[in-house]
């Protein structure tokens, strides 16, 4: 999966950062550093999020019926009708049931 984050946009074309003073970073430089950290964090977060994003053109397999968790609701209903009368549990199959379970 391709990450379309700011980190892939190449080197910055903005103005050069100010020179460091002998006693450390200037307040403006500190602010820029923090902004950079925040941008890095957001960017890496964005990359992480996009890593878990499946885009429309990647859904070919997912669109197939064998990838549908409930491809046949009617079949599921029939199965639930059988099993829920013969087990003490319900739910978990996208279905629910209750009652006496006669016969």
């Amino acid at each position: 999966m391709h990450c379309l984050c700011i980190f892939r946009s190449g080197p910055s074309k903005g103005p050069a950062p100010p020179a460091m003073s002998s006693r450390g970073q200037s307040p403006r430089s500190l602010t820029r550093s923090w902004l950079l950290v925040v941008a890095l964090a957001l960017g890496s977060g964005g990359c992480a999020a996009s890593k878990w994003t499946v885009r429309p053109h990647q859904r070919e397999l997912l669109a197939d019926r064998i990838m549908q968790l409930d491809a046949e609701p009617q079949e599921r209903a029939a199965e639930d009708h059988v099993l829920s009368n013969r087990e003490g549990a319900v739910g978990g199959n996208g279905t629910s049931g209750g009652g006496c379970g006669c016969n």
Binding site: W52, R59, A63, D70, G94, N103
Partner: protein, 409 residues
């Protein structure tokens, strides 16, 4: 003989199907489906239980994202069940078995509104038979989040059920409760029967996540509250050494909880997929259960789809359950007793397969349908009960045979 009605199951199914389809279209096609299920449970002691279950469902868009759906289903049941739950070595289990046959029907209809990133639906169902009537209203909603990678769904249903029971107003005590002997007078003003009520509320939230181009996962839960008559009015349980045989007596309130996780993973190199499901369950009657399910789907050629399945379920018994021998020798643990197999400690294993024939004439302009499917399925359900004195111990397995035909326009 009373059958089990579960009309509220269908709306919850629908919303889960919607939630599970990460690549669905906003406008669903017109569809008609016909399915016929045969359930046969042979008995070592008596006649087998046979159920023939036809289903017909149709759905169609009416424009603007609005769709309508309707359906009918029925159960034609015949067989024999022991009238008295008692020790297997006694005569009751065999000699008191009564033959029965009944016919149950259910109709349902609903409206839905789908947009590109979500939808809502509402439906109503009515089921009836000689001794049971049920009205059910359901509402569902689902929303896609984060570029359709997540689907949050919520379903709610409420049932108003009416159950025919013997009139036990004059019974001096619980051990003198009389079972219903016939459904002949049910829902009439006859003094020998009364109508009990059962209210059922069910909520099912779920979250689906399209995790990778090959993997879809889903997690969720079910909360169900039942308030009202839940016993089998025909069943009697042999209690104590004196041989009392009162009507089955179960609590009238039950809370049921389940959590589940499901996943589907694609194997494109094999044109196959695997689906797994795990479920944990607990209720206020102290039944605890765990269930695992595995499906493998594999395309064979251009038009055939083979599905193989294995499922295992294990559960503990209800707090008031004892087997037929213990109810006689020890008596019930309290004021409740049951002869219901689904409340006993047990497990079952289901194995089977399905073969589907798919026809998608995508390039044929003259075709009058988009997709046609015919399939046949066989499954074997094997019960593993705790002892020969457990309910229905004479029926160790069941056959499930199913055929279906559906077409999408």
């Amino acid at each position: 003989m009373r059958l089990q009605l579960r009309p509220f199951a269908r709306p919850l199914l629908v919303v889960t199907a919607l939630a599970a389809g990460p690549a669905r279209a906003a406008e669903n096609p017109t569809q008609a489906s016909l399915r016929l299920t045969y359930f046969g449970e042979p008995s070592n002691d008596d006649a087998p239980v046979r159920v023939i279950h036809p289903q017909v469902d149709v759905s169609a868009p009416v424009g603007g994202g609005v769709g309508v759906a309707a359906g009918w289903e029925a159960d034609a049941v015949s067989g024999a069940t022991p009238k008295v739950f008692g020790p297997h070595t006694g005569v009751d289990a065999v000699t008191a078995a009564t033959k029965f046959s009944d016919f149950r029907q259910l109709v349902h209809g609903g409206l839905s509104y789908d947009r590109a990133d979500g939808g809502i639906s509402a439906s109503y169902a009515y089921g009836w038979e000689h001794d049971y009537r049920s009205h059910s209203l359901s509402a569902t909603t689902h929303d896609d989040l984060y570029d359709h990678n997540f689907t949050l769904a919520l379903a709610y249903s409420h049932n108003w059920d009416s159950v025919c029971d013997a009139n036990n107003d004059a019974a001096p005590g619980l051990l003198e409760l009389q079972a219903l002997t016939s459904s002949q007078h049910c829902f009439t003003s006859s003094p020998d029967v009364v109508t009990r009520h059962l209210r059922i509320d069910a909520v099912e939230p779920s979250l689906s996540w399209t995790m990778t181009p090959r993997l879809v996962v889903q997690g969720g839960g079910t909360i169900m509250i039942l308030d009202g008559f839940q016993s089998n009015p025909y069943r009697e349980v042999k209690i104590g050494p004196e041989g009392a045989v009162p009507q089955e007596h179960e609590p009238t309130y039950r809370q049921r909880y389940a959590v589940f996780a499901r996943a589907a993973y694609a194997y494109p190199q094999w044109r196959a997929s695997a689906q797994v499901m795990g479920r944990l369950y607990q209720d206020s009657w102290a039944v605890q259960a765990a269930t695992g399910d595995l499906l493998v789907n594999k395309y064979l050629g251009q038009s055939m789809l083979l599905t193989l399945r294995g499922r295992y379920h294990i559960q503990g018994g209800a707090s008031f359950y004892r087997n037929g021998q213990e109810y006689v020798t020890l008596g019930p643990p309290g004021q409740y007793w049951t002869g219901d197999r689904e409340l006993s400690p047990m497990s079952n294993t289901l194995v089977g397969g399905r073969m589907a024939f798919l026809r998608r004439p995508q390039q044929e302009r003259s075709s009058w349908f988009v997709e046609m499917e015919a399939d046949i399925k066989y499954e074997l359900l094997m019960y593993h009960l705790e002892s020969v004195n457990a309910p229905n111990a004479d029926r160790p397995y069941a056959h499930i045979l199913q055929g279906a035909f559906s077409v999408r326009f």
